[in-house]
Structure formats: C-alpha cells, structure tokens
Amino acid sequence: MSDTMDNFIGLSAVLTGFASSILAPGLDPVNIKAEYLPFFTAKVAAESGNPQLVDSIFAKYASLAAQQLSDQQIGTAMLDPANGADFVLACRKLIFMWYSGAWPTLIPASASAPASTVSDLISAKSYTCGLAWQVMQSHPMGDSNYRYGYWNSQPPALNDYTGQQGA
C-alpha cells in the first residue's frame, strides 16, 4: 500500500475500533478502501474548501503513530478541537463512512427539530461493506453469508467481527 493508503487505513482503524486486517485484509477482492480513499479525499476537500486538509489529517496521524501511542491516545489527539472544526468533522465523517458505506450531511438543530443526520450511499458495494452490520454481529440486510437457522443461536464473539484481540 502507498503511504497515503497506509495512513488512511491506520487512521480508520484507530477511529472505527476495527482492526486494520478487517478494513484492509491481505487478500482483499472487495477492496472497498480503494473506493473510500479517493471519495473521502474529494469530499473533504470540497466541503472544507481546503485541498490540503486531508494531507494534514494524514500527516498528523502519521506523526502520532510514529510516537508509539495507544489507539486511544491517537484517536483523542486526532479529535482534539484544537485541530480545527473542519479537521475534526472530517475525522468523524470518516467513522460514519466506514460504518455505513454512506456520506453524511449534518442538519443543525432548528426551532422545530433537534440536530440530525442524513446520508447518501456511496455505492452498492459500500452498503454491504458497512461496519455497522459487523458491530451488531450480523450481516448487511440482504447480504447474508450465514446458513438456515443461524438466528436461533448466538453469533460468534464480537472480536471475531472487529478483528480485535482480547476479552
């Protein structure tokens, strides 16, 4: 992978809580990362009006990762408001994109309604790649790899879906 892709996956793993091996498996015929990286880059540039913002996000991540910090420390530093509103919002939208396969638009609170979010799916493939289906220990609705009757017993452990180790 390129440095940019390495940083994209590394940052995505920290922010989503999923292992890099789940986001970008060694054998990756689906290869959703190749769709997400250019999409994310273009969207952040367009929405922030700052073509350098994505580079600065990845650079910040790379420098934090080089310091042997924990994922928790890196994530906290990336989402620090001191980085600027656009920087932090782009990182949060990155989380949403990985979990849903869609790009969010935040609707601020109004006199009649609280803040909410709408989103546009990026592609048919991205829908089925949403991590939300994995974090619920299930499958995308309409795209099950399970067999008859699986719903009658407990699913595999959450870590099997997130690729994380430990309890």
Partner: protein
C-alpha cells in the same frame, strides 16, 4: 362477442391473477394476462443492485420504475422522487407519504383537508400509508411471507360483535374457504407446524378439534424461532392477560422455505421486505412461471388496461382496452382491445377500482363498470399499525433471521371486539430498522453527538426510566474506537420492536376515486384517495396497543424507547403538514401502513351494497370476476396474502365451472 380469442383475460400478474391463470391453464383453458409493469427479470441481481444502492430501503426500492434518485434531488424534492405524470405505470410508494400534498412527487391525489379541524377530530384525512408494485409478479415481491389463516369470527364481525359487516354467508363462507386455505398453503409453500397452532386454534374455536380442516398440515416444517422471540417468550410476559385474553407467542407460518426444494432454503438475509435475494421466500413469479409453462397462458407486459367495454344489451363484458409502452417514461407504442369469454381483474385494491371507475363510457354504466351499488373504490382499508420499540435487558441479537418469525396471535379475538379493534402483534427481528432507521440513526447519534434515538441525551420515558444508554457517558457523547464499538454493539444487539396490526373497519368514505386533475404519462387519471381513521373503535385499538406494549416491555425487563410523535399539523405549507399523525384521548399517535390494501370492490350478500357476490363475480356483469384483497368485506385480523390465495383458488373453480356451463 361471438368469437372471443381467449377463455379468460386477466388484468394483473400478482399472486391472485397468477393463481387463477395457473389453475385455468392446467385445465387447458386459454388465458391472456395484461400486466401494466415491467417483465419478470431473468434473475433478481438487477433488483438487488438497485436495492443496495437505494438510500431509503423502502419496500418498493428495488423495483422499477425508480422510486428515488439522489442525483435529481432539489431543495424541494430532497429524495429525488420522480414525477408520476412522466411515468406510464406509476405507483404509490412510502417515500411519497411525506410528499402527499405535492402531486409532482406523489402518485395519489388527495382532497384538501376539511377546514377548521383539530388534531383529534375523526374527520381529519391522512396520507394512505401502504404501497404496492406494478411489475410482473406484483406486490408479493415485497411481502413479508406471513401466512396466517383468519379466524371464524373474522367472517362475522357484524353478527358477533356489531361492527363492520359480515362476509357473505358469514360462517358458511368460512367453512367453504377452509379447503382452499389448505390448497393455498401448498401453492405458497408454507413452513409451519400445526401442533404449534393447536393452542391458538382451540382458543378461537377454529373447529371442535382445534384443527383447521381434515387435511390440515404444512408442506414444510416450521421455521426456527429467533433469539428475539425467545426473549419475549418468558413467563413474565406469557402470564399477562389483555382484556381477559392470555398473552402467548405463536410461531408464524411463513411462505419461505425451511428446507431446500424448488426454492432455496431461507438463509436469514433479514430482507424479506423489500426483497429476498435468494427467493427462499415465495413470490408470485413462481406461480406465474407455472402458469406460463402450461403452454396455455400468455402474458403481455407493459400493457396498461385502460377501459372495460360492456355490451349495451347483455351487460356482459365484451373486451378490455389497453395501451402499451416500451419505456417507463416513453411514449405509448400501441393500443388495442382483448376479448375473452370471461374477464378477471386482479390489479390489487387501488388499480382495480381505478380501472372500473375509468370505464365510464358504457351507455348503461355511466358511473363505471360493476358499480351499480356505488361501492367501487369505497371501504378502503389497511391494517393500521402501531409500532413500539425498546432495548431488552440482555442481548437478543436483532437484525438476524427472517424479518419476523413469531407473533402474539392470542389477542386477535375476544369479547373486547364489541368495544375496540382487535390486533395481532408482530415481533420484529430487525431491531429498530423500521422504527428508527437503524443502524444508521444510532450510529449518527454516537459519532456526531446527536440524540435522535434518545440513547445519547437526557430523555426519560413515560415510565420514568432514563434513556441514556450508558449513564457513565455524558449526554451527546461523540465516540470513537473501542468505546464506539462497545456502545453500538450493546445497543444493536438489544433492540426489540413490536408491530400491532389493528383492524380497520370498512368506512364508505375511505375511498379511491379518479383524480379530476392529475394523470399519468398515458393520460389516464390517477387515484384520488380519501383516508381517515374515523372510529373510536379503531382509535381505542391504538390506546390498547400503547398500553400493552408498555406492559410487555416492563414484564420482560426491557426499557421502552417508543418516540412520542409530534402533534398533527393539518394546515399550512405542503412540506409542513403531517401525513399520518393524529391525537386521541390526549395521546399523540402516528400510524404506519401494513401494506395490506383491502376492501375497494367488496363481496357481499346484496347487489345494493357490494360489488361482487360470494363467488367473486360482479353483480352487474356475469362474466366479470375480481380477486385480491379488494374483495375483502373486512380486513380481519391476519395478514391477507394466504386468504387472497385461497380466494383466488376458489374463484378459479368458479370460473372453470362457469366456463363449463357456457
């Protein structure tokens, strides 16, 4: 006509039309089906791709014509809804509900709200909340698969409880239908276990033995229940009573394969609605294929029936006019008239009455065909739905398996039916997907610090329980990493949802008419729909549903998250008025559609107040028959499809009998 081309012309290729076509085709009768919509595709992968890409995964989202187009979105059309005036076979979709006051986006035309009403007035009109398909195979493409039989008292609501009407002949009708239920179970391929239904059928006196007819069984074993079902099936819940009735779960007989066979074995895609990706669930393309394979059945797709011709002297139907097209938004490519000995309308409960009403050029039938009673289009019904949702105290692993595998059927009948609507309770396996558009809403809440689903703020439910999921987190938390994983997991795996299918009474003012102003691209009038929930009887069903949900959730130790809907907004800008909100006894309610459109060409005992006799034959035109849930005099307490199939099988026998006698 002296030399008709076919024995039977059918309008519509859904389950009812396909069953009749197959039954006649296998007897060597020549049948032509006119289908307004697109052909059955060679495989369903194209529909699946459309579904995957759709932002709103509504029941209609996989099917043509397109229901939503984000690239065509504008500020006043954020979902990119197509203009029905540009489509040759448009249909109503649930995305149109919110746009119900805008005919540029909504296929149905609605009359203006009567003036000076309050939110609790029974005269308030609403958007209709259910939809249908106009494609080869019809609406079973997006049905759930629930294959329940109605109870004997469902056929005698007037005689037994003093409400609505009886089905023609009442108990006699029911008894005659029993063997057809058996046959319908085979046609659909229902998975079920009759011993699981013994308690229920004994409670409701289906027969002295508690069994549903002498040959009663299911062709496949029952679908296994879900962990969600098991969370409800605990003594604290099953010792509850409601208005004297016991509460207990019944595994749902379902039109999906529990064993591999002609169709694949269900793999639990949790997507029965909008589309089963592997056709483990029955849909009418199965029967339509069987019909076509008899060699006696033809189908013409993209042929929209536009007029029924009636002989001035005999009052017999002598032809059906149609308009053909090639592209959804293209020009008409032809027109013609098809003729047969007998005619069958099977275009569901909106398009069938529309066709009858459009056929108003016949000298002796100026109010439309089959409409001497004035009942065509009236008594539009649905199961109006109340949804309740919550979090179970322990994981139930929602979002797995078929969308529903069990229900509470034990509240479908009882003395309380003198006072309020009965209902069945469907137990959802899809978490808060229907109720709150999860997983995406809760995701946004915890990524962006919002609180739409009440899990990330300071909301307290009416039982006084704080709703913040993790009291150790501040309100409006914005999470990432392991904490986000654990929080979302903890929520999603506990999500539960109940849906109440409340029996709506026939109301002659709930009706389908012809729009005086709006047309489709072929120039045919669009439906004008007037829809109310007018009776306290029905509204009391909502009050009961709300109370019972809270009791069940409390009993099982769950926390209720049902959102109280906003008060109705009846007047103002088209995008500001509410569509399905009402008030009753101080409660704000919203209702949902069950997709069970019924009643608009009902059967009855008398020519004066019904469209069809008990043989599903027009009182006015002896060679015209109609099938589908539009024939239902009442919507009853079970999902309609099995009854639609049974009635279609019965109608096929009637038509065969009449063809033999001719």
């Amino acid at each position: 006509m002296s030399n008709p081309t076919y024995d039977l012309v059918i309008v519509g290729s859904g389950i009812a039309g396909a069953i009749v076509a197959h039954q006649l085709g296998r007897q060597g009768k020549k049948v032509l089906i006119l289908e307004a919509g697109a052909p059955v595709p060679v495989d369903r992968s194209g529909y699946m791709q459309t579904f995957f890409k759709a932002n709103a995964k509504t029941p209609e989202s996989p099917y043509p014509p397109t229901t939503q187009n984000p690239t065509a979105a504008t500020p006043d059309n954020p979902l990119g809804l197509p203009d029905p005036a540009t489509e040759n076979a448009p249909r109503y979709t649930v995305l149109q509900i919110g746009a119900w006051r805008n005919p540029k986006q909504c296929y149905f035309d609605y009359p203006p709200q009567p003036p000076y009403l309050k939110g609790d007035s029974p005269e308030v009109t609403f958007a209709f909340a259910s939809s249908y398909e106009r494609i080869g195979g019809g609406t079973t493409w997006h049905w759930l698969g629930t294959s329940l039989r109605l109870f004997p008292t469902d056929f005698t609501l007037k005689t037994t409880y003093g409400h609505g009407v009886d089905w023609p002949g009442g108990q006699t009708f029911y008894q005659a239908l029993v063997p057809y239920y058996e046959k319908a179970t085979d046609v659909i391929g229902v998975s079920g276990d009759k011993t699981q239904l013994d308690t229920l059928y004994t409670q409701f006196k289906v027969s002295p033995s508690g069994q549903y007819g002498p040959d009663y069984d299911y062709p496949m074993p029952a679908i296994v229940d879900s962990l969600v079902d098991q969370a409800f099936d605990v003594p604290a819940v099953t010792t509850l009573t409601v208005d004297g009735n016991p509460v207990y779960l019944t595994p749902t007989p379902q039109g999906r394969n529990s064993l591999p066979g002609d169709r694949r074995q269900c793999a639990g895609n949790t997507n029965c609605i909008p589309i089963c990706p592997i056709q483990a669930k029955y849909d009418a393309t199965v029967t339509l294929g069987d019909a076509l394979q008899t060699g006696n059945v033809e189908i013409r797709y993209r042929c929209v029936a536009s007029n029924i011709r009636v002989d001035d002297d005999t009052a017999e139907v002598v032809g059906i006019d149609y308009i053909s097209y090639d592209e959804h938004t293209g020009d008409a490519t032809g027109s013609g008239t098809v003729t047969a000995s007998k005619y069958l309308l099977a275009a569901h409960a909106i398009e069938t009455p529309k066709l009858l009403l459009m056929s108003n050029k016949n000298k002796n039938f100026p109010n439309g065909v089959a409409n001497s009673s004035g009942q065509v289009g009236r008594n539009l019904m649905d199961h109006v739905m109340y949804l309740a949702w919550g979090l179970a105290k322990d994981p139930v692993y929602a979002f797995r398996g078929p969308l529903s595998t069990s229900g509470i059927e034990s509240l479908r009948d009882g003395a309380f039916r003198k006072n309020r609507s009965a209902y069945r309770i469907e137990i959802g396996n899809e978490g808060w997907q229907w109720a709150a558009n999860d997983p995406f809403t809760t995701l946004a809440d915890f990524v962006f610090g919002q609180d739409t689903n009440q899990l990330n703020g300071n909301a307290v439910n009416p039982q006084g329980q704080p709703l913040r999921f993790n009291p150790n987190l501040p309100a409006n938390s914005q999470l990432f990493g392991a904490q986000l994983v654990d929080t979302l997991n903890g929520i999603y795996v506990r999500q539960i949802r109940l849906g109440y299918l409340i029996e709506q009474l026939p109301d002659p003012d709930n009706r389908v008419e012809l729009s005086p102003t709006e047309t489709d691209h072929l120039g045919l009038p669009r439906p004008r729909v007037t829809y109310r929930i007018r009776q306290d009887y029905e509204r009391d069903g909502f009050v009961s549903a709300k109370q019972v949900s809270t009791e069940i959730f409390n009993a099982m130790g769950a926390t209720e998250y049902t959102r109280t809907p906003p008060a109705p907004v009846l007047y103002g800008a088209a995008d500001q008025v509410t569509a399905t909100n009402f008030q009753y006894q101080g409660n704000n309610f919203t209702f949902y559609g069950a997709g069970h459109i019924a009643g608009t060409y009902r059967m009855g005992d008398s020519k004066s107040d019904s469209v069809l006799n008990a043989r599903q034959q027009s009182w006015d035109h002896g060679n015209l028959y109609m099938v589908g849930s539009g024939v239902f005099p009442t919507i009853a307490t079970g999902n309609p499809t099995l009854t639609i199939a049974a009635l279609a099988l019965q109608a096929a026998d009637n038509i065969l009998q009449d063809l033999a006698a001719a």
